[in-house]
């Protein structure tokens, strides 16, 4: 991929009930989005431990997307609200580590909104592309 310049590597934690389903639907609908994202399935966005996000960034991911059901629609009643808090706090931690909090994004993607999923991936990939490579990569490995 490197011959095209910087191709970010993005990890997506998707809740199984809404966002993962939307990703499936994007496939079924043959929507196109950048291939930079690698999806990890979780049952609920609230399962995303801040450790996952920080570990991903320390290990060289350029961006982390967390996606869950839209507010009020959580399959587990209110897990997405907890996810929102966890992500907000994680961003604070990242700042203190000297990492741009913009490398983490939380999005609500309902099961039926495949186009939104594709849109979110496109947008986020563009954002990370502009931010450039994760500085942690060099810092840790140099």
């Amino acid at each position: 991929m490197s011959e095209k310049g910087f191709e970010p590597k993005i990890v997506g934690f998707l809740c199984y009930w809404c966002s993962y389903t939307a990703a499936d639907l994007a496939g079924i609908s043959r929507l196109k989005y950048p291939p930079n994202i690698r999806i990890i399935r979780v049952m609920c966005s609230s399962r995303v431990d801040p450790v996952f996000i920080i570990k991903a960034l320390l290990d060289g991911a350029d961006g982390v997307l967390v996606a869950g059901c839209k507010p009020g629609d959580c399959h587990y009643q209110k897990g997405n609200y907890y996810a929102r808090r966890k992500v907000a706090l994680t961003k604070k931690i990242l700042e203190s580590l000297g990492l741009e909090p913009e490398r983490v994004m939380l999005s609500w993607v309902p099961a039926s909104e495949a186009p939104k999923f594709a849109e979110v991936v496109k947008e986020f990939t563009e954002r990370i592309r502009k931010l450039g490579p994760n500085p942690m990569k060099e810092r840790v490995f140099v």
């Binding site: 991929m1 590597k9 990890v11 009930w17 809404c18 993962y20 389903t21 990703a23 499936d24 994007a26 496939g27 079924i28 043959r30 929507l31 196109k32 989005y33 291939p35 690698r38 999806i39 990890i40 399935r41 979780v42 049952m43 609920c44 609230s46 399962r47 995303v48 431990d49 801040p50 450790v51 996952f52 570990k55 991903a56 290990d59 060289g60 991911a61 009020g72 629609d73 399959h75 587990y76 009643q77 209110k78 897990g79 907890y82 966890k86 309902p110 099961a111 039926s112 909104e113 594709a118």
Partner: protein, 1126 residues
């Protein structure tokens, strides 16, 4: 196979035909997989999900002694279960398997083959890294409850319910309308066979209604669903229909007498129905329902809870006697109230925003006057059987008389003790004759006496007899309704001079026939109602009257209309001034006043008047009337063990009105200080309720609170949303001209005639719909009417749920160009369906609103469907029903029919043949999307017609078709409330709002939530045959589940390591399912696996990482991450 053994992984890459292979170099991925650690074998195959593919895995497990499997293919949503099963067959735990989605997440969404292949390799690598850390999980099974919930009672719901019930299983069928039947019950004929919908439908409805295995809940909604497949707990809210379903015989006598008419929803507003109704004659259950939205605002505003809506409506119907009876159920002294009530009701009347409030007070006066004139003064109630308990009422004012009347109505023996010479209290002695004539009051009191109430006048309790005496005389309870008769004093010099009156003293004198010599100039001090009354009376005695009030008009407590009347009659008012001394030689001749200004608000919320230093001035006066408020004359009662407040009011329990002395109750002005007649009457009736309970020996703290059954008030804004109301002006009340008025004490307001009363009554907008006039109760021989019925929650346990909530039709009003609601002859298809139905508003005659048969009809297809602005989808049934209409119109009327279509879609059995038939019958088919429907004629032939303007795309020309009637073939949309139901059930909707099936081809009736199935149009538009087929399919799925008896549920639950847990209980706090208990003995938290849903929130919350979510453990997810980022 334990986890300790060295991992041996088999990796399988699926081509999915070419779905994956056309973008992903599957061989390259396979070769790469083979190089990954622990991978023993890597293969690719065309269809891994096929038998051959699965066998390949099973054989490899045995051959290579595999203990882990990875399949890279479609989404786990599709085939995770398939491959887990294969693993199990091969002899390894199904959870030692991982899937990589390289179709939905790679080949279908990425274009560059190289990139796609790279990504597939990484996903496979992540899966291999993860699977190494997988652990075997114990599979969990639960029993399936054999009961089934079906939501929606249209043809889909009925079909599904019958299939299951016939198989011997119990079905709870919930329908939100009062009858089952759904849309199909509205159709006349069905395409393409043209058989009568009712003929094929009604037998099914009856079968559902009578089936011993179907428990039918109509007029009901699903409130909540908890649990999971096999074990759902459902709360059904059975809305009050105010009719006992078991007793109602469906005879319809109630609807004949109901005075309230509203637009009929079943006929789409093309005619009206009564508030008590049955949607259509073949309804199942064949019972009536009352639309009652709550309490109308007028009724809610009345301090006595008088049902204004009810009697206004009855008067509007000319039922004056019934109106009077309804009034007397809540208040006494109706004729007096009809004259002197401030009418809190009218201030809330919704009609106020459409022509002025209904003259509710005047209608009450009319009903009472009419009754006294035509029926006499016998109370309109049967006297209950006499009881042996006796009650003494002290004071014959509104509160006392009300209490006495309602106790006597219950059969108690009541004696009223009144210290004055005549009963009536303030109504007699304080309210001037020109407002309430004494003979009117006399009749009001006559009714109370005729109820059996004994009134002893000239007996002053406290002076002549004590409370103890009363109890000694054998009375079992006492009600104190002594009012507030003691005038307050200003405490300024000269108050005792001759010519200085207090208002109550003054009014009482005039009301008993005295005509005090006031002289020329009269000053009235105060701004309340008694000040105004005193001023208007003094005016009638010929004086020049000025009211002096220490604040401004805005703060005056008197009713504005009274102030207005006083001003009209020539009374002057001076604001911001107060007397500081009265001067004179024996008799008052001068009054010294001081100017005031308004300061900070006081405890009453009004701005406190502050004297302006040095602003004193004098005026000449001949008399002064002090009307600065009254307090109860209650001191003496303190001696009888009755606690008083500092202002002299009697202290009572605010709910039961019992005083500090057992058996003694109080109400009215004695408790509140000066208020209104209607408030006092309300207190009296409330006291009567609790006194009766007290005499029954009940503990008053435990009895049902007074008026506990009253419904909440209706939201006014909703009334205007419900239907369109024309502005109807309020009737003018005839009043005596001012010059006549001030000559004497003749009544100012002139009564309504019968016609005027009926006309005014019919201005009522029926805010709550049902007015509770209770006419239905009288008409119902079966005694099935239950106005006190309330919504009921019923809990049922079911194992599976079938959703069959159907659709609604698109409202074409926003498509302005098609003229719907602008031109009366533009109909929607469902309206036309009713117009054409033999049971519909025209009894099946296809006629225009003017009664004429149309000579030409246009049918416009795809209204709201296949339209980017509304719905992109095709609604599937419109072409066919449009052609059905064409056939029926030609058959019934011979009119020319024009079908304006984009494409004709007739893809069912005998559908194309029907299309041909309709063409042969002479219907015109014009291909083109209609631009507009207009009434602007361009030629004489177009005059008086609706002109359909269209580009005929086959002829390539814009054409105009003048027609008499236009039918819009509107789209189908998800039913109202689909979104809420989706939330309750945890199922998903697609972008158009239809519920999503698990798989569009292979699981069309299942949902992603196990145990919940779909039937009919709630999943997408479809015709009746498809709906019925899908309903049977859903029933088969539910039955299959029941026959299995057990089902496997999520094995991936949370686990808490007691060695690590410190018992902080944060996991407990966040768990939405209360699945975590705290073991106080060991000081640790414990997961209840039966309740755990496996979301993993607790695992992410635990600060010590004592909680792990099986199959989604930190190490598993982190290794998957490592596989991605390597």
């Amino acid at each position: 196979m334990g986890t300790k053994a060295e991992p041996r992984v088999g990796v399988y890459i699926c081509h999915c035909g070419i779905n994956i292979a056309y973008k992903v170099d599957v061989e390259a991925v396979r070769d790469y997989a083979a190089t990954l650690p622990h991978v023993v074998v890597a293969r690719d195959y065309k269809f891994m999900c096929s038998n051959v593919g699965q066998e390949m895995i099973i054989e490899d497990i045995k051959k290579f002694n595999l203990n882990r499997v990875v399949v890279a293919s479609c989404s786990p949503r599709m085939h995770e279960k398939t491959f887990r099963k294969a693993c199990e067959k091969g002899g390894i735990n199904p959870y030692l398997f991982q899937m990589a989605s390289i179709r939905e997440q790679v080949s279908w969404v990425h274009e560059d083959e190289k990139e796609a292949t790279e990504k597939a390799k990484e996903l496979v690598r992540a899966a291999v890294f993860r699977v190494i850390y997988h652990e075997p999980l114990e599979r969990r099974f639960v029993d399936i409850n054999p009961n089934v919930l079906v939501i929606g009672g249209g043809i889909a719901g009925m079909q599904a319910a019958l299939e299951i019930a016939d198989a011997g299983k119990t079905v709870y069928l919930v329908e939100r309308e009062p009858s089952i039947g759904g849309h199909m019950a509205k159709f006349d004929k069905t395409f393409p066979t043209l058989d009568c919908a009712a003929c094929i439908m009604t037998p099914k409805m009856v079968a559902v209604g009578q089936h011993e295995n179907i428990k039918l809940f109509t007029n009901s909604v699903v409130e909540s669903v908890e649990g999971f497949i096999g074990n759902f707990k459902v709360k059904i809210c059975k809305k009050a229909r105010f009719v006992d379903e078991d007793k109602c015989t469906g005879c319809g006598e109630c609807a004949k007498v109901c005075p309230v008419s509203v637009p009929n929803e079943f006929e789409y507003g093309m005619n009206e129905r009564k508030a008590i109704y049955r949607p259509f004659p073949q309804a199942v259950p064949n019972v009536f329902t009352i639309s009652k939205l709550g309490e109308s605002p007028c009724r809610n505003a009345c301090p006595a809870g008088l049902n204004a809506h009810g009697y206004v409506k009855l008067i509007g119907e000319g039922k004056f006697e019934e109106a009077f009876k309804l009034i007397m159920e809540r208040v006494v002294l109706p004729a007096s109230l009809g004259r002197a009530c401030p009418a809190f009701c009218e201030k809330e009347c919704t009609r106020g925003e459409a022509g002025g409030p209904v003259h509710i007070r005047m209608l009450k006066r009319f009903a009472a006057d009419w009754y006294y004139e035509n029926k006499g003064t016998q109370p309109p109630f049967e006297v209950a059987e006499k009881k042996d308990k006796k009650v003494a009422v002290v004071g014959a004012g509104p509160a006392g008389l009300s209490c006495a009347f309602y106790l006597a109505k219950e059969g108690y023996q009541v004696t009223v003790f009144e210290r004055e010479a005549e009963p009536g209290g303030m109504v007699r002695y304080a309210i001037p004759e020109y407002r309430v004539p004494k003979d009117v009051l006399a009749k009001d009191i006559e009714v109370i006496k005729n109820m059996g109430v004994e009134i002893k006048t000239g007996v002053c309790v406290g002076r002549d007899v004590t409370i103890d005496d009363i109890f000694k005389q054998g009375y079992d309870a006492v009600f104190l309704g002594i009012g507030a008769w003691k005038d307050r004093r200003l405490n300024v010099p000269g108050e005792d001079l001759e010519g200085v009156y207090t208002s109550i003293d003054f009014l009482k004198r005039v009301n008993t026939g005295e005509r005090p010599d006031l002289g020329r100039k009269v000053a009235v001090i105060g701004g309340g109602n008694s000040a105004i009354d005193a001023a208007r009376v003094a005016k009638r005695l010929g004086a020049d009257v000025t009211i002096y009030y220490r604040r401004t008009r805005k703060e005056m407590p008197a009713f504005p209309e009274e102030v207005e009347a006083a001003l009209e009659e020539g009374v002057k008012i001076e604001f911001l001034t107060t007397p500081v001394a009265f001067k004179g030689n024996g008799r008052v001749s001068k009054m010294e006043l001081i100017r005031m200004e308004l300061g900070e608000p006081d405890e009453s919320g009004r701005r406190r008047p502050v004297p302006i230093e040095g602003s004193n001035y004098e005026v000449d006066v001949d008399s002064v009337i002090l009307a600065i408020g009254q307090v109860p004359d209650s001191e003496v009662f303190a001696k009888f063990g009755i606690d008083l407040n500092r202002n002299g009011t009697v202290r009572v329990d605010p709910e039961t009105l019992m005083t500090s002395r057992e058996g003694v109750f109080a109400g009215g002005d004695a408790v509140t200080g000066p208020s209104t007649i209607v408030e006092a009457i309300g207190w009296g009736r409330r006291a009567a309720y609790y006194i009766a309970k007290y005499l029954e020996g009940a503990n008053l703290k435990e009895v049902k609170p007074y008026d506990a059954d009253r419904l909440p008030v209706v939201d006014k804004s909703q009334v205007f949303k419900r239907e369109r109301f024309e502005v109807v002006e309020r009737s003018k009340i005839k009043e005596l001209p001012v010059e006549e008025r001030i000559k004497g004490f003749a009544e100012v307001e002139q009564p309504f005639t019968e016609e005027e009363a009926v006309k005014e009554g019919s201005r009522c907008m029926d805010c709550a719909i049902c007015c509770e006039c209770k006419q239905c109760e009288l008409a119902c021989e079966a005694q099935a009417i239950r106005h006190d019925q309330r919504d009921e929650i019923i809990e049922v346990d079911v194992g599976s749920i079938i959703v069959a909530t159907g659709f609604k039709t698109f409202d074409p009003t926003p498509l302005y160009r098609y003229g719907y609601r602008r031109f009366p002859e533009v109909y929607t298809s469902i309206e036309f369906e009713r117009l054409n139905n033999a049971a519909g508003p025209t009894e099946g005659k296809i006629v225009m609103k003017n009664g004429k048969v149309p000579e030409s009809v246009a049918i416009i297809h795809c209204v709201g469907s296949r339209d980017e602005n509304y719905h992109r989808y095709c609604s599937r049934v419109c072409c066919m029903y449009s052609m059905k209409y064409a056939h029926l119109i030609r058959e019934k009327t011979g009119a020319e029919v024009y079908e304006f279509y984009i494409d004709i879609r007739a893809p069912g059995k005998m559908y194309e043949e029907f299309y041909n038939r309709v063409q042969e019958e002479g219907t015109h088919f014009i291909r083109g999307k209609v631009a507009e429907v207009t009434d602007i004629a361009e030629t004489p032939e177009e005059e008086g017609k609706l002109i359909v303007v269209v580009e005929d795309t086959l002829a390539g020309k814009v054409k105009r078709y003048p027609v008499d009637m236009v039918i819009l073939s509107v789209a189908l949309e998800p039913a109202d409330g689909a979104e809420e139901l989706a939330r309750i059930l945890g199922i998903s909707q697609d972008q158009d709002g239809w519920f999503i099936e698990l798989h569009p081809k292979l699981a069309p009736v299942s949902t992603a939530s196990d145990g919940i199935f779909l039937a009919g149009c709630c999943q997408g538009p479809k015709d009746i045959p498809d709906t019925v087929a899908q309903a049977s399919g859903a029933a088969a799925e539910a039955l299959s589940l029941i026959m299995r008896g057990k089902v496997e549920i999520e094995a991936a639950t949370s686990h808490i390591d007691p060695e690590v847990c410190v018992g902080c209980q944060q996991c407990r706090e966040v768990c939405a399912y209360s699945a975590i208990d705290y073991d106080a003995g060991r000081g640790v938290c414990v997961v209840n696996e039966a309740l755990c849903k496996g979301c993993g929130l607790c695992a992410a919350t635990c600060p010590n990482k004592a909680v792990t979510l099986k199959h989604f453990k930190n190490e598993q997810i982190l290794h998957e991450l490592e596989g991605i980022l390597l």
